[in-house]
């Protein structure tokens, strides 16, 4: 099966194009089913690969490259033509992610058939989603970071398109631009990292890059800069502080799109890229440390915002940011396995949460949780699946989130206690606000009777995906944590012996000399001997047994009532903090200020251009001509057409004194100049 892996990203592209150009827009168009079929095929392929690996039938990593284009290049003063390959590299994490992405995408699309069917741009939505899926899958399987970067950017594009899907409204328009620009800002870091890596190694191939790092051919300084570049890219894409501003606004898009892109998959791409280029970070401890702290800060800040938000999708968005912070923190702490594990489980339960929220919104036509309440009575299935997801994200045994979050905490504990404690606190905050969400939405009394009575359970096309995702939210953790599978699926790369035992670029490619100089890679898998410690028992058992349930219960009781006075009083007591959180740490304001500043700079630049550069270098040239013209015209005693130009005044001023001496158009004036020439010649020659 694995030899067909290259088809995985291409099938959705084809589907997307067929959907987009296949027929006119029609709310009942059958074309979306093509997308669903395509992604189902992908899912089947991915599942086969994953199962093959887990069951031992397929050896990973698997790499296959084809020639893409030839590029003249210069390395070390030598110029030659190098063939840039394009290809697939499937390592175990990629296999898992292929499965996860395909699955979530499939579920989202099925869900959307129902969710989007009234929309005027029904078909287009599926085209975008298919295209997005293709890009994400492409990033996952690409053997080449250049291709990876292309997919990365294309995901940004689809994100842009989906956020602004309802572009008639001003909100989505602003949000989509904000999302694109913010991620673009981050992307510039990744872009530079790419340039730097290529400049140092002469290749874009992941395996070859890894070799270079493994062999220590890249100076630590360069590695650090590159790692920070990658980190910046990940900050943009994965909405890490302070570039997180775009993600909450991105909820302006259709909910299934948010579920897929802004919850489950695309936002995880930052984490994914960091993991793919983990060897760079291994060579750059400073960047690792930064990633850890960055993740922690992000997790905390986002969780804090989630505590106060009333918009159900916003809460989920903050939670996404927070969870991404966890993953980043894990990677930074060296918990490679933990981070990717959490990425996987998070994809399931976060998609589920979003789809469930979508189902709720679909039913009550509002995002404001204060107008919900008691919906469990109207939408039992949705409630049940949401509950699974909340338990999962909160880290209740045996739901998926428990295993992965636990692993992250262990990694943090092992790495740095100063990170562990705040991280633990943030985990509890997570449990709190998720329970708050669940309580406000489904439990307690119905606060808005009108909406409550109109609410009803969603159709099967919506609930089935919820159930499927709930299944995985329940079981994924157990499955992966079982029998050390996690470490097999997400093996932490190492610098000493990391070069994966894969044939390098195909023989047709002219390998750059720097790569050719690489000695035979040591392919034996040697795990770095890290002192892996378990948490102390009181924590190991206390967290799932007491701390997390405690936080959840607190939330439940605080928000159970119709008016939740306790919560309100706390809110009022800490007004400055709440305001700070409501204003999202003033990051949005900072962002707007930055935008305004850029506009100012642009206006200034243009002013300079129009008033200085143009004047000096173009009109200045003309002015020079003009002055010369005026002077020569004056000496010609000719009439100046003052209307020709304002500079005409020049000759008038000059002329006041002299004009009395020299009249216009007079032949004797002409003679005068001749006589002057004569007299000067005579005197100069003869008195020399």
């Amino acid at each position: 099966m694995i030899e067909y892996a290259w088809l995985i990203p291409l099938i959705p592209v084809a589907a997307s194009l067929i959907i987009l150009f296949g027929a006119k827009e029609d709310p009942h168009s059958p074309l979306p089913w093509i997308g669903i079929g395509a992604i189902a095929v992908c899912l089947a392929l991915s599942a086969a690969i994953l199962w093959g690996f887990v069951s031992g039938g397929v050896a990973l990593p698997y790499e296959k490259n084809w020639d893409w284009f030839s590029l003249a290049t210069t390395i070390g003063g030598q110029s030659f033509v190098w063939t840039v390959p394009v290809g697939v590299l499937i390592d175990p994490p990629a296999a898992v992610l292929l499965f996860v992405v395909s699955l979530v995408s499939l579920m989202v699309q099925v869900y959307s058939i129902s969710y989007m069917h009234d929309d005027t741009r029904f078909k287009r939505f599926f085209a975008f989603v298919s295209f997005f899926t293709a890009a994400m899958l492409g990033l996952v399987v690409s053997s080449n970071i250049l291709v990876g970067f292309m997919c990365w950017e294309l995901m940004g594009l689809t994100s842009y398109l989906l956020i602004g899907f309802w572009f008639e409204r001003p909100g989505p328009c602003e949000a989509q631009k904000k999302a694109f620009m913010t991620t673009k800002l981050g992307d510039s870091g990744l872009y530079l990292a790419l340039l730097l890596l290529y400049a140092k190694t002469g290749t874009f191939q992941l395996t070859q890059l890894h070799q270079h790092f493994a062999l220590g051919l890249v100076a630590p300084a360069a590695a650090t800069v590159a790692a920070f570049g990658i980190l910046l890219g990940a900050m943009g894409k994965s909405a890490q502080a302070p570039l997180m501003v775009w993600l909450p606004d991105a909820m302006e898009g259709p909910t299934p799109g948010s579920a897929l892109i802004h919850a489950a998959t695309m936002v995880a791409a930052g984490i994914l890229v960091v993991s793919k280029l983990y060897f760079v970070f291994l060579a750059a401890p400073l960047a690792m440390e930064t990633a850890a702290w960055l993740g922690l800060i992000t997790a905390f800040m986002a969780a804090a915002m989630a505590l106060v938000s009333h918009d159900i999708k916003r809460v989920l968005a903050f939670s996404t940011v927070s969870q991404l912070g966890f993953m980043m923190c894990a990677l930074g702490c060296g918990g490679f396995t933990a981070g990717l594990f959490h990425l996987t489980t998070h994809a399931f339960f976060k998609a589920l949460l979003f789809l469930g929220a979508g189902s709720v919104i679909h039913a009550v036509h509002t995002n404001d949780m204060r107008q919900m309440g008691g919906l469990s009575r109207r939408m039992l299935l949705t409630f049940a699946t949401m509950t699974v997801a909340v338990l999962a994200i909160s880290g209740i045994w045996p739901f998926a989130g428990f295993y992965s979050k636990d692993m992250i905490l262990v990694a943090a504990w092992n790495h740095e206690k100063a990170i562990f404690w705040p991280l633990l606190f943030t985990a509890l905050m997570t449990a709190f606000y998720m329970t708050r969400l669940l309580t406000l939405t489904f439990l307690g009394d119905d606060r808005d009777h009108e909406r409550f009575h109109h609410a009803h359970e969603s159709p099967a096309l919506i609930t089935v995906p919820l159930l499927v995702l709930a299944f995985f939210s329940l079981t994924a953790g157990m499955a992966i944590a079982h029998d050390g599978l996690a470490a097999r699926l997400f093996p932490k790369p190492a610098l000493t012996a990391a070069a994966p035992a894969v044939a390098a670029a195909p023989a047709t490619t002219a390998t750059p000399p720097a790569v050719g100089a690489a000695p035979a890679a040591n392919t034996s898998e040697v795990q770095t001997p890290e002192a892996e410690q378990e948490l102390p028992d009181w924590l190991k058992f206390g967290i799932p047994a007491f701390f997390v349930p405690g936080a959840m219960l607190l939330a439940f009781f605080m928000y159970r009532g119709p008016k939740f006075e306790a919560a309100e009083s706390i809110r009022n007591t800490f007004a400055p903090i709440t305001t700070l959180l409501d204003r999202r740490w003033y990051l949005d304001d900072a962002f707007l200020a930055l935008v305004a500043f850029c506009d100012q700079v642009a206006a200034l630049a243009f002013w300079i251009d129009a008033n200085i550069v143009d004047r000096v270098f173009v009109d200045g040239w003309g002015l020079l001509m003009r002055i010369l013209a005026e002077i020569s015209n004056f000496f010609d005693g000719a009439f100046v057409d003052a209307t020709v130009d304002g500079v005409g005044g020049l000759s008038n001023d000059l002329g006041v004194g002299l004009r009395s001496l020299v009249a216009d158009g007079q032949v004797q004036e002409y003679m005068m100049y001749a006589a002057i020439a004569f007299s000067l010649a005579a005197t100069l020659i003869l008195t020399r």
């Binding site: 290049t73 210069t74 602004g164 631009k177 673009k184 530079l192 642009a602 550069v613 040239w621």
Partner: protein
Amino acid sequence: MMLSLITWAPLVGALLVLLIPKENVKAIQGVGFLASGVSLLASLLLILSFDRATAGFQFPEQWSWIPSFNVSYHLGVDGLSFPLVLLTTFMSFIALIGSMGIKERVKEYFFWFLVLETGMLGVFVALDLILFYVFWEITLVPMYFLIGVWGGPKKEFAAIKFFLYTLSGSVFMLLAILAMYFHNPARTFDMIEMMKAGATWSPRFQELVFLGLYFGLAIKIPAFPFHTWLPLAHVEAPTPISVILAAVLLKMGVYGLLRLCYQMLPAGFAWFLPALVVIAVINIVYGALCAMAQTDMKKMVAYSSVNHMGYCLLGIAGMTAAGFSGAVLQMINHGIITGALFLLVGVIYDRAHTRDLSAFGGLAARLPVYFGLMALTCFASLGLPGLSGFVGEFLCFLGAFPLWKWQTTISVLGIIATAAFFLRMIQKVFLGAFNEKWEGHMPDMTPRELLSVVPLAVLTVLFGVYPKWPLDLMNATVVALLRK
């Protein structure tokens, strides 16, 4: 003979156009298309026989022209110029399609247009400095008329400003060419001979001559601070001429920089390199910032050209094969993309007679095809991977980075600014609520408009996904350029 055919076919067409009475618009257009089509077809045929492994000049033609001065009619293309020849024939044909909208004084229009095409092609195929200069100047005059007669409100000013400013640059180029001629013991204007002789000249001389050449080229490119003619000319020119201006004319400057400055004056070039990279960075960042400040769509696109030509300069300044390839590829891609952008801006201008960004809104829902093409082109222009703009831009950066780390880093920020103004344009014009003022005035694109834009869009995607085709044409030459 093929190169001669390509070059002169439009001129023959121009002369034929003169013979047709001006009332017979159909015949004039027919002859125009025929002449330009012959060029296009011939150049496409040449792809088949173009040897991608040869670095030197192919399809050479050499006849004595002015033996007294050792000036010869010497034509030839290599991997540097051949893609540009293709670009020129192709974009000229596209612009001709766009020119079907010209309704008044058609005869003169086609005459000047075809003369212009010959001039542009000549610049890229000429291998003799005098011949090169002659073609270089030939492009000015038709451009002057095309802007001045068929342009916008300030067309007359724009035309003369364009003409005088570029002319003042090119006369210094002539001076430099003469200086090289007299410095070469062989007393020849032949470019190939000059490339051989150039390396032996004293650095001081090379620097002086470089400045002379650069002054002419920089105005054409346009490199900061000589760029301010461009927005005016672009804005005032009629749509097809803006297309030609952006797609081909600017390329003549960069081409000259590589062909004349780099190949003939290596020491002078190396001497200027630190300045060149600074200029490139200014072009990129400052061009993008200026574009951000625009409210006129066409002016914005014009400033984006300043920005994009900055990428070319940056790539060249890198002195690496990747940078050179990137510069050439960026020229091609910028030609295609910006050509399409101008055509698209022209589409909306034809309908609304305004290009003010804030005059529109919500067109995406009413003109989906137009929106799709515009979005594609804008994203290509802002360097979205998968579209052609990215490849050239990336290669430029790739090529420049090893030598100019900080400068490249600053330039990367320019990309963000580029994204900013394109997105803002999309938002203001296409998104949001529909401006009811245009109700009934906004039909989607006509077949003629589609005919002119869709080929460009297809190429944009094609070259973005599979840049092998254009790159293969130039690889051998680029490698050879750096080998010496």
